[in-house]
Subunit: 333 residues, 2 copies
């Protein structure tokens, strides 16, 4: 029996998840929900650009779709903050449907989002289903993956994670999210509005700190623009010299005044070498590197799809990548 999936949010990530689901035996898309009037009423197969219809019509209401389609799980890819997405979570949980979500703030409870995370946890427990926030980042490369590597250590002193991505291969909203093409002035305004940044460093830092048992004094999260020194273009955008080509973001968790967790992200058009690295200073010292890096858009959709069986097996409540079973590719059953 295939796992019946309802997609909530058919933007680029939700659509990528949907396309993956259709290539794997063991999953069946039974419902699709979006607020975009340009999508509502169309066949999900059309919105996913599959070249074939799925005979599932995009609806604009979560509760009604649950009643009509009886999904085993909801994949929710609509927003980054718990505040924005909480009403959607609650509507899905009212229907007692487990959730896998790319909502970055759902990946781990931090000081900033603790109250909303508790509310989500309570709603999930009441519904007797699990909710999991995951994705490639937060959810894996800058938190679960380095955490797993610490299991090799008898002592951990400091953890440094780098993620460097040439943004030319990423989707348009990602290229926009990192400010590609803006003037430094526009970038500054975007920073002030909070739109120009990777969301998830606070969550990843907290997840690592809790895993290795560090009590953090404070956490910082700084974004700087990367300026193009020569003209650079993707299939979607062109950036002239002097304009912003992307971001450099540093997140640091301090314990006893020392920087113990350092997350460094570079995402800009034309980054010469993409890679993902983890350095664990300790015993033994471990330096792990993924040459070429991990393509964020594909991998985020993969993490979501591959996490569905773990969420169905998890005890009720807001779960994290720390307490569900080992992540793994899932081909279907």
């Amino acid at each position: 029996m295939a796992i019946r999936v309802m997609l909530v949010g058919l933007g680029p990530i939700g659509a990528a998840v949907g396309r993956q689901l259709t290539t794997r035996s063991g999953f069946r898309i039974v419902g699709g929900v979006d607020i975009d009037p340009a999508k509502v009423g169309r066949d999900v197969g059309d919105v996913l650009e599959l070249g074939r219809r799925l005979r599932v019509t995009v609806a604009d209401r979560i509760g009604k779709t649950i009643k009509a389609t009886k999904p085993d799980v909801a994949v929710l890819c609509t927003g980054s903050t718990l505040k924005a997405v909480l009403p959607q979570f609650e509507e899905v949980l009212t229907g007692r449907v487990p959730i896998v979500t790319t909502t970055e703030e759902a990946a781990y409870a931090t000081a900033q989002n603790r109250r909303l995370a508790r509310r989500l946890d309570a709603a999930a427990r009441k519904a007797k289903v699990a909710v999991l926030g995951t994705g490639v980042n937060p959810g894996f490369l800058m938190d679960a993956f380095p955490i797993a590597l610490t299991a090799l250590c008898e002592r951990v002193d400091r953890i440094e994670v780098h993620r460097v991505q040439d943004a030319r291969i990423r989707r348009l909203p990602f290229q926009q999210k990192i400010g590609a093409g803006l003037t430094t002035e526009q970038f500054k305004h975007g920073l002030e509005r909070g739109t120009l940044r990777h969301v998830g460093f606070a969550e990843s830092i907290r997840m690592i700190a809790d895993a290795v048992g560090w009590k953090l004094d404070r956490t910082t999260d700084d974004v700087q623009p990367k300026l193009a020194t020569e003209a650079v273009e993707s299939d979607l955008l062109a950036v002239d010299p002097g304009y912003v080509s992307g971001i450099v973001q540093d997140g640091v968790g301090y314990a006893d005044g020392e920087p113990r967790i350092q997350l460094h992200l570079e995402a800009y058009l034309g980054a010469p070498e993409s890679y993902d690295s983890v350095l664990i200073e300790g015993s033994p010292r471990i330096y792990s590197k993924i040459d070429g890096g991990v393509h964020g858009d594909i991998a985020t959709a993969s993490m979501v799809v591959n996490s569905i069986p773990a969420v169905l097996a998890a005890p009720p409540g807001l779960r994290t990548m720390r307490d569900v079973r080992l992540p793994s590719f899932y081909a279907g059953r």
Copy 2:
């Protein structure tokens, strides 16, 4: 409250686990068991060469030690095969004590050991405690770690894992296990007796295959001697040219006639570059490398100690690294 640990087996790995336990808050060694008359009756602190006494005397009986010390968990490091170790498992489980073990065959149930694994699983369920087989290999670097990386993929075609270790830094029994110093004739005899090989490839291959959903036709596991081309020595052994300096071992899992899982291990005195690498052919393609490799003796003891909280939290039965929560360094509580 510290977690009360009973050590069963005080050989090099059991002793390394014991030493780590004494450096971490949150653990207390309450019992030690070994069959070696040279250890029985001595203080565990002496046997661990701590330079201080732990006021825990090494005993030769498991059941009696459990009654006298009421451990929360047993760490069992005595042998590689389920057949050899099953009576010890059963004695610990009669006392209803959860177990973390480095018994390689306990890491995952294979066609060869399925009957004994079922018996162990039944005994653990009856005792209402969990048993986990772990270590650096099997248990992590050539199975759980590549499995976790597949979570990034929408498609997995082939998995190749390399572990290359300069055996000069490893403990004496390891150097002996890989045949260092033998003639090719002696090596051949050792191979026939089954003593000269890494135990665990069958387990690791099966764990990966089950995780990614491949039905294997057959599995191979071949060991070749590595011959020294020039004189090489460790602190413990010297090998002349023409003698065996270690092993090269290849394990392959075939599905539909194709090699889908390839594990390659080189462990010999004087290997020029130690490393651990994972290649996942698929979408996306992932190549991860740990430069310098991971020191097997330290990391095996770390994996055992770090897995204790996960075993205490796991449901009863024979568990695997696939179904307990994410591995992580554990500092104590």
